[in-house]
Subunit: 250 residues, 2 copies
Amino acid sequence: MFFMDLQKLREKAIQTVKAKLRQSVKEDVLIVQVVSGLEELDKVLNLLSKRLREWYELYNPEPSRMLTDHEMFANQILTKSKKDLLREFKIHDSMGAELSKKDVDAILNLANQLKTTFEYKHSQELYLESLMKSLCPNTTAVAGVQIGAKLISLAGSLDRLSSFPASTVQLLGAEKALFRHLKNKRNLPPKYGILHEHVLVNKVSMNNRGRMARTLADKISIAAKIDFFKGKYIGDLLLKQVEKKAGELR
Amino acid sequence: MFFMDLQKLREKAIQTVKAKLRQSVKEDVLIVQVVSGLEELDKVLNLLSKRLREWYELYNPEPSRMLTDHEMFANQILTKSKKDLLREFKIHDSMGAELSKKDVDAILNLANQLKTTFEYKHSQELYLESLMKSLCPNTTAVAGVQIGAKLISLAGSLDRLSSFPASTVQLLGAEKALFRHLKNKRNLPPKYGILHEHVLVNKVSMNNRGRMARTLADKISIAAKIDFFKGKYIGDLLLKQVEKKAGELR
């Protein structure tokens, strides 16, 4: 009888844990996945693009040097023939080898693969935007989709991000530089982590970037708290305050 | 007058170099490109597969553990719903979260991307096979497509591979171990490089693998010389000799 009770208790405990696991997957977990996925995708795109260029340059080297954007390069060589491209860039005497159709097709096959990978990346970015706007509209308004998502990914969840003070938000992504500073006092402390990618931080002069990052972190910290507790949307107001500060600092 | 001559001479020299560059692209250059491309593609497939699994396991963890092959995994989740998969593996109480259709679609989007990348890899392998069979049928017969192509890639060209003695062919791909041995005599010299991937080397017992690799390298070296000088096809004969040796060694 006692054994039976233990058995039942065990089953009940397992069921409870399973239910809790099922409920633990919230939108910010998905955001973390998409952000890491996008970072890996950039590596993939780089690998494929470099290989495509090296390979295609055997066949037609000159246009490759002139089309610097990888995605445009793939699209151009897929839609235009070697002749067309050479005429377009006014090159009369190409150094490229003549390859058989089968060999060119193998190269264009890679270009096609690269093109679909770029398209996949764009679709993931749109998906990330829709996730961010539904989960944390305020943070997204102030920080932008990419930086907002990276902040959540660095913090681990929106819950944790909302519990951080502004000074922590300011330095998220600069942990290495921060601990280097704390270990040997010779290095200056970092002024910003992932926030250095933000348009407004890049807009002001070098001297004022630390101040700008601080203001931005202040407002992001407020926005994250509002989002976590499902408050009203005041993203536009917060963004206006940050932009005003950016205008003052220059 | 003298200036004009120099100008003409210069143009002539440039034209000659351009023509030589055009002719320098031979089939083994393409083989080197495809081999490096395939190696990078394996990295890409690994990155995408790991991300897909981590992401999909939030939704449906149990089947992912049971489908170990990445390509099959992607195909299965694309064609079957969560319910079908759970029924197939007889799991009644899944730990996976319920996701909205939009979130599941984003995951399946990645699965689709992974699937097309696998398909692209297979098409590249077929292309490599056709290149190898037309450029060096003898080497391909003895070493196989993959190992033959890797040997050419390691040597740099069929020209160089054909000029190597058998002992060098045997150790291609084991340069690190070889120089470690030459530097401090404590380490034993390597017995084989890339040839350790060959079926016949794997078939014989551990003690005999060095001998087997040596025989194989002998025949590959002969085959590469025949291929480079466009000799007759005796691949089947060479392969038979290697297989006989493998039967003797066990």
